[in-house]
């Protein structure tokens, strides 16, 4: 009995002990979740019908993928073109995207929002607080 409750510890493997335990529990739980799900499906008689839907109805493709693409582009350009230009361009485009039209007013709003935020962040954090900016 006491053997069962003792774990073989060795310095070289300290780092593997806990992850192994967590992985085991995760696997067991995953199995249980899967089995209960199957049982439920068998009971309800819809074993083979999958009506899993990832996106909500009529999802806004332009805005969703637009945001995702802009985020990635923003992060990749940060260190190349610097914090201020990258942020101004990113914010300008995202604001335009969210408002969803290209009227004069929209462009004005986007420009002022992006310029104001970027400069305030740059001044207060980058200059006053000496935070390392990209």
């Amino acid at each position: 009995m006491s053997d069962l409750l003792t774990i073989e510890l060795s310095y070289n493997n300290y780092h593997l002990l806990f992850p192994r335990i967590i992985i085991s529990i995760l696997l067991i739980l995953g199995m249980v979740l899967l089995i209960t799900n199957i049982i439920k499906r068998v009971k309800n008689g819809n074993l083979s019908t999958f009506n899993f839907k990832f996106f909500v109805d009529n999802f806004d493709k332009v805005k969703l993928f637009g945001t995702a693409v802009l985020l990635v582009v923003y992060a990749s350009t940060l260190e190349i073109i610097g914090f201020i230009p990258a942020s101004v361009i990113f914010m300008f485009l995202v604001t335009l995207l969210y408002i969803g039209n290209i009227r004069k007013r929209t462009i004005m709003i986007s420009i002022s929002n992006s310029l104001a935020t970027t400069i305030i962040v740059w001044y207060v954090f980058g200059q006053l607080f000496d935070i390392t900016l990209p």
Binding site: V32, F59, A75, L78, F83, F90, M91, T117
Partner: protein, 501 residues
């Protein structure tokens, strides 16, 4: 000894300033109290000890308290310790009670702050000695106890919630285990970036802020219904009144005690404080099913606990020289820079400084309350800022915060985006974000104390039961908490079925 003999006008002024800057930084998603203190630490060398303490304590109190604002209004925890504030705070905002929620939170904060301050002032040495008695075994059990909150907050599926929590723990283990400097679970090719694993802050704000932004853009960035509610409509429910706290006396005290106590344990992180308090509030609540749907009760517990944590974390720092959390670990640097030794004799040999610290805490809490209580009206208007304006601002703040948290690491920005994507995908595939995050926050600590316990017992697992009376009490609490969560989950399910039929 009067307060003004010890505190110089400059230190009071710096304390005001500290609170103000702290609140602002705490309120910006991506900036934390720890960061605020780290930024100002080098500046304190030029100041007198008492003045620098005023500033740093102000930053600490302000930073922890400011996290409340985005948590309540935007569903983004401004700091890790305000995670549980989102559970009830944001639903209240959705009901148009944003201003009320903020006021409830602030009031709970100051009560928690003063409570822990009183404990710090009168019982610090005694309690510090108790804290030492908590060995790695007890600390591991406390973390397990905090983890039981996963069971009580899981919505819909209890197993799903636990699975999410474990998944979070698993992700947190990626990186190097410090005892033997060995890397594990790191995908090939990312060894350089993941040496230290994923940083908490980008993970936190990625899951909440970026995930939410992606979700909203999928839905087309329509104005939410609560953005159209007029706050001043005079609906009685949306008005704040101190009477609210009449029924919360026990809750406030319990949560403050838990906050102070968890904060006091060296090496158990601050976020565990509000997590534990929230779970106990839920267990003891008369209407546990309502928690998480916008009950002031939950808000009160989370906020009083995270301010209670401040006094708690200072207890081992000032009476033993051991920092109670990551923020006080930086604070210790401020003392050392001035050549002041913090240790078991600190309080007796530095009476003036000790009183100064306590007075600074009093002032910081009061300033925090006044500053926030009366500016909340304007803060609350944040909700009405159109999404197309506020979301880009949040993204930039998150990116700056992530980049700066480790002094300029681009990988942290990618972490932010990766977990933003996960924050968007998780709810769709049934992974519960709060549970995942709690697992992530507590995972590394759980591992450390688990391994430490076994090192002490040469691998004997029974140590967790035989260590001593404290361990047994903790087991009773853990089992009680889990049993309660299971019963509660069954009851909720039944109620739901009845409603359906």
């Amino acid at each position: 000894m009067s307060i003004f003999e010890i505190l110089t006008p400059l230190s009071v002024l710096l304390c005001f300033l500290g609170v103000f800057i702290g609140i602002v930084m705490g309120a910006i998603p991506g900036m934390t109290a720890t960061m605020a203190i780290a930024i100002f630490l080098p500046l304190t060398y030029a100041l007198d000890m008492i003045d620098s303490i005023g500033l740093l304590i102000g930053l600490y109190v302000g930073g922890i308290s400011g996290g409340l604002v985005p948590a309540v209004l935007l569903n983004i925890p401004g700091t890790p310790s305000s995670l549980c504030t989102t559970f009830d705070g944001y639903p209240m905002t959705k009901k148009g009670e944003g201003e009320k929620a903020l006021k409830v939170g602030i009031t709970a904060s100051i009560i928690g702050g003063f409570f822990s301050l009183t404990i710090l002032y009168f019982f610090a040495p005694v309690l510090a000695s108790v804290a030492i008695d908590f060995s790695s075994v007890e600390k591991f059990l406390i973390i397990v106890f905090a983890l039981t909150v996963i069971a009580s907050i899981s919505k819909g599926s209890l197993l799903g919630g636990i699975f999410s929590g474990l998944l979070g723990m698993f992700i947190s283990l990626i990186g190097t285990f410090t005892d033997n400097n060995e890397m594990r679970l790191v995908p090939p090719g990312l060894e350089d970036q993941l040496v230290y694993g994923f940083s908490l802050l980008p993970v936190l704000i990625g899951l909440f802020a970026i995930g939410q932004i992606l979700q909203e853009s999928e839905e087309g960035m329509k104005a939410a219904s609560h953005q159209k509610i007029d706050l001043q409509k005079g609906n009685k429910n949306t008005q704040f009144s101190f009477k609210l706290f009449k029924n919360q006396k026990i809750n406030v005290i319990r949560s403050s005690i838990i906050g102070t106590f968890v904060g006091m344990l060296p090496g158990v992180g601050g976020s565990a404080a509000s997590i534990t308090a929230y779970s106990q509030t839920k267990n003891f609540s008369k209407n546990p099913e309502k928690l998480g749907t916008g009950e002031p009760e939950g808000l009160v517990s989370s906020e009083s606990a995270n301010n209670g944590l401040i006094g708690g974390a200072l207890i081992p720092l000032l009476s033993l020289g051991i920092p109670g959390d990551s923020t006080t670990a930086i604070l210790i640097g401020a003392f050392l820079l001035q050549g002041i030794e913090i240790g078991p004799l600190f309080i007796t040999s530095n009476q003036d400084l000790w009183s100064g610290i306590v007075f600074s805490l009093v002032i910081a809490n009061i300033v925090m309350f006044i500053l926030m209580f009366f500016s909340i009206k304007y803060f609350a208007k944040i909700v009405f800022i159109p999404k197309y304006l506020i979301f880009p601002i949040i993204v930039v703040a998150c990116v700056v915060g992530s980049y700066a948290i480790n002094n300029g690491v681009m990988f942290d920005v990618w972490t932010l985006l990766l977990f933003g994507l996960l924050g968007y995908i998780f709810p769709k595939i049934g992974v519960q974000i709060p549970s995942f995050l709690i697992g992530f926050i507590l995972g590394t600590e759980a591992e450390k104390y688990f391994v430490d316990s076994l090192k002490g017992s040469s691998g004997d697992l029974t140590i967790f039961f035989t260590k001593g009376p404290i361990a047994l009490v903790l087991w009773i609490l853990i089992i009680g908490s889990v049993t309660y969560a299971i019963i509660d989950s069954r009851r909720t399910k039944k109620a739901a079925e009845q409603n359906a039929s």
